[in-house]
């Protein structure tokens, strides 16, 4: 749930997600064959414990999860048809391979034989997959995100509205063949399937449970992922143990323990209580110092998100693109990032973060240029004077945070415009945003799946409910629609890049920065990757003596 990250991000400008460590364990060798994801083959399990600091998941029901914290655990314990490997490629999981029809709307998945549920008594079949997807879409389950991730499937809407008995687009051909038909060719459809919503659950275990009731099974879920949930003590700890039969290669770790109770992360790390920790702005200069022993354990990696200032392009004075451009040119991002954010983030010229397919290195951003800013303002419809301007942020503190403060000061200094601030609690903030009540707002967006559609279409398509800027440009709409169904990858990316450049020029947003992970990892923890969004990653990790 990007809102949760947004709130937390705001509270502590750059607190990276915390990770864990490994120790000795020991379990039998995996029977699983190594798969096409190029990952580690089922090497001898060496064991070891990884100790991490984590946050409580809101839920461990894949159908219900909508937040990063929950997804982090779910992807390690559960699995679906496809998954994402550490190179961020979509690779087979329960499906062994798939074919797409010529028109890009019918996917036929061949399921891997011998994929067992954790308790070992049953193989996953096509009807388990169908059941799990239909359960997520079932209105009685009360998932808030099922339609978002599975709604492209033919018949999903009718089923979710309670008007059909089954999702007609999900067909069980035989025990190991599943055919999914979607409503239009959508190149990002498989990416959506890597999100937990449609992951396979054990019907016998979850029958009758919803997102909001009878959730006890989540303490001991019977699933198919690389790890088994050994223990979830609410607010205290989560313990994972390896699934030695995991079909993509058994994990090397013998045990993973997440401490959920909180604590002072970096102190715990320095005191050898945890093996991985995020580094906040308070400590970042210290760990960057090469003379500091911790420096050798310091790692940075990019994240797939964007932090921005949005304008309501229908509201005065930002209905004039020149005013928006003036405000964008008046922000000195270099200075903001260097002084306020201590270089713990990456400057954003465009919308798409660097690691996403389609990122455009040649994109022309709006440079910091005071003269140009003043000139644009003088040429605008509001040359005679601007109305009162207010920027809205979400949060509960008395202060808006250093980033906003710096930007307000830049506008005042470079444009001579005083902007007032207004702070609202997050749910209300979003509500007001949807109603177009703010002239200007500060917000972030984190990728759910690595596709440009997840940023550009969702935020700037005129019909999208997440288009808080009320931005509507027929040319952009057309490019985004075309990209939606374009099956030629290179051409599709070029369409997104064209749309992105138009958006950047017309400034419904001023892109500010993309976050980085700033993390300390103990030297004995190997192959602990820092993916830009949630992927199953613990099965690659091993502990060295």
């Amino acid at each position: 749930m990007r809102n949760l990250s947004a709130v937390l991000r705001r509270l502590a400008a750059a607190v990276a997600v915390v990770v864990g460590v490994v120790v000795l364990g020991g379990c039998g060798g995996g029977e699983g064959d190594s798969s096409s994801d190029g990952g580690t083959p089922a090497a001898p399990v060496v064991g070891g414990e990884l100790r991490l600091l984590g946050r409580d998941p809101i839920t461990l029901d894949p159908a219900c999860a909508s937040d990063v914290d929950s997804a982090n655990y779910i992807v390690e314990v559960f699995g679906g048809l496809v998954t994402i490997d550490r190179d961020l490629q979509i690779v087979p999981d329960i499906a062994e391979r798939w074919d797409m029809s010529g028109d890009g709307t019918v996917y036929t998945f061949q399921l891997r034989r011998g994929v067992l549920f954790h308790n070992g008594d049953r193989q996953v079949t096509a009807s388990d997959v169908k059941y799990s997807m239909e359960r997520a879409l079932d209105p009685d389950t009360q998932s808030t995100v099922a339609e978002l991730y599975l709604g492209d499937i033919v018949g999903a809407e009718e089923f979710a509205d309670g008007d059909a008995d089954e999702v007609t687009g999900i067909e069980v051909v035989d025990n190991y063949t599943l055919r999914i038909t979607i409503d239009a060719p959508k190149p990002y459809f498989l990416a959506k399937l890597t999100y937990p919503t449609g992951f396979v659950v054990d019907r016998r275990q979850v029958e009758g449970s919803t997102c909001l009731s009878k959730t006890n099974w989540q303490r001991n879920p019977n699933a198919t992922g690389p790890f088994k949930l050994k223990e979830w003590d609410l607010g205290q700890r989560i313990v994972l143990e390896p699934n030695s039969r995991y079909h993509l290669g058994a994990p090397s770790l013998g045990r993973v323990e997440y401490t959920l109770g909180g604590g002072s992360a970096i102190t715990m790390y320095e005191n050898d209580e945890i093996d991985v920790t995020g580094v906040g702005l308070n400590d970042i200069e210290r760990v960057r110092d090469p003379a500091e022993p911790l420096n050798k354990e310091f790692h940075e990696a990019s994240r797939m998100d964007i932090w921005y200032i949005g304008f309501n392009v229908e509201d005065e004075p930002f209905d004039d693109p020149k005013v928006r451009q003036a405000f964008a040119h008046a922000i000195d991002k270099d200075k903001l990032i260097e002084v306020v954010l201590l270089d713990a983030v990456v400057e954003a010229d465009g919308i798409l973060p660097p690691d996403i397919p389609g990122f455009n290195e040649n994109l022309q951003g709006l440079e910091f240029d005071t003269e140009k800013a003043q000139q644009l303002l003088a040429e605008s419809d509001y040359a005679e004077g601007l109305p009162d301007i207010e920027i809205a942020t979400s949060g509960r503190g008395a202060s808006v945070g250093p980033v906003s403060e710096a930007i307000l000061a830049m506008w005042e200094e470079n444009l001579g415009v005083k902007v007032a601030t207004r702070q609202t609690e997050f749910a209300t903030f979003l509500d007001d945003l949807r109603d177009g009540e703010y002239q200007m707002f500060e917000l972030g967006w984190v990728a759910d799946y690595p596709d440009a559609e997840n940023f550009l279409k969702i935020q700037f398509y005129s019909g999208s409910s997440n288009n808080y800027s009320q931005y509507a440009n027929p040319e952009v709409d057309e490019l985004l629609e075309e990209a939606d169904t374009e099956t030629d990858e290179a051409r599709r990316m070029s369409l997104y890049q064209q749309a992105e450049q138009i958006i950047v020029n017309e400034v419904p947003w001023v892109p500010l920065f993309h976050d980085k992970f700033s993390v300390l990892i103990k030297s004995y923890v190997k192959d602990y990757t820092l993916p830009p969004f949630v992927i199953p990653r613990l099965r690659y990790v091993h502990i060295e003596e």
Binding site: I58, T144, C211, S264, T267, E273
Partner: protein, 327 residues
């Protein structure tokens, strides 16, 4: 004590009205305040149909009084509702465990506060007029004046990182006679220090003031005139009388434990109610907020009552209910 029963009954008759007022006010603040848990849950992806469906299922679209009535009816039948912070988990499965954690370590801290504060207060009173009195109280006031947010990192730096004596945080439970006990682990030492150091000043100062007052009483002079040794005068006559007002403080301090401490729990990684209620408020977790409020209010009412009754026992001048003065 024949007057005690009517007194208790009368006080208990008031309790439902107090609880009604408290619950109604809390319920109204949640329902009429901005936002709601379903919106918070859904975040930036907004599907109005889904929000409406869940709100309906949870009864959040009913009129206020209907919602309140349903909620209280369930509470009276032992159902405290369902959490949004741990989606779908019954509130009673969460909060009692967390309160138990909080009560344990707070109780220890409270014992330490009184065990040090009371003798220190008496001692300071007896040294009134010398430098020892202001020094004693001054040292405790210093601890009181430094915020826990400052004290905790210093403690962690010294005891965990520099000396390496203690883990910096955590909560480890042992199973003792079927109870989960977490205060037998050494990692509880720093949280207890952080909690008790600031608390001593209050108790010590009150005890000092009470002792000074009692020292002026005629019966103390009489006791001394009878030739009793000073130790006996202080312990039997002065301290006993000076301790009376402490009863009230103990009662309310005990109830105060239920609230927990956000900072101590967060920085030391203690999974208690203080940390949890904070998250619950952020998530607009109505049922959790209501349950904690109701339990705390009930505890206050009970503590108040018990304190008054205990007072009657230990101080014969206080009579509960009718009968009129007998002295």
């Amino acid at each position: 004590m024949q007057g005690i029963l009517p007194f208790v009954v009368r006080r208990l008759m008031w309790a439902p009205f107090v609880l009604l007022a408290v619950s109604l006010a809390t319920f109204a603040l949640g329902r009429f305040g901005p936002g709601d848990p379903v919106e918070t849950l859904q975040g930036q992806y907004h599907n109005p149909e889904v929000v409406e469906r869940i709100r309906h299922e949870r009864g959040l679209d009913d009129p206020f009084l209907v919602q309140y009535g349903n909620y209280m009816w369930d509470v009276l039948h032992g159902d405290l509702g369902t959490s949004f912070t741990y989606l779908g988990v019954p509130v009673e499965d969460i909060i009692f465990d967390k309160m138990w954690v909080t009560i344990q370590y707070n109780l220890v801290a409270l014992l330490i506060i009184f065990a040090i504060g009371i003798p220190a207060g008496i001692w300071a009173a007896l040294r009134q007029g010398t430098w020892q009195d202001p020094l004693t109280i001054g040292v405790f006031l210093l601890f009181r004046s430094v915020p826990v947010l400052v004290v905790i990192p210093i403690l962690q730096f010294i005891f965990a990182i520099k000396l390496g004596w203690l883990p910096s945080s955590g909560w480890v439970e042992r199973d003792i006679l079927g109870m989960k006990i977490g205060i037998l682990d050494k990692r509880i030492i720093m949280p207890i220090l952080a909690l008790s150091l600031p608390g001593i000043a209050g108790v010590a100062r009150l005890m000092r003031a009470q002792t000074l007052e009692v020292l002026d009483e005629d019966f103390v002079r009489t006791a001394r005139a009878k030739g009793l040794r000073e130790v006996v005068v202080i312990s039997r006559h002065v301290a006993r009388n000076a301790l009376l007002p402490m009863t009230t403080i103990v009662g309310f301090a005990l109830v105060g434990l239920l609230g927990g401490s956000l900072f101590v729990e967060t920085l030391f990684g203690i999974p208690g109610i203080g940390q949890f209620i904070w998250r619950a408020v952020f998530n607009q977790d109505y049922d959790v907020i209501m349950a904690v409020t109701l339990i705390t209010a009930t505890a206050f009412i009970v503590a108040n009552l018990v304190t008054d009754i205990v007072y009657g026992f230990i101080d014969p001048r206080v009579r509960l209910g009718g009968g009129g003065p007998r002295y």
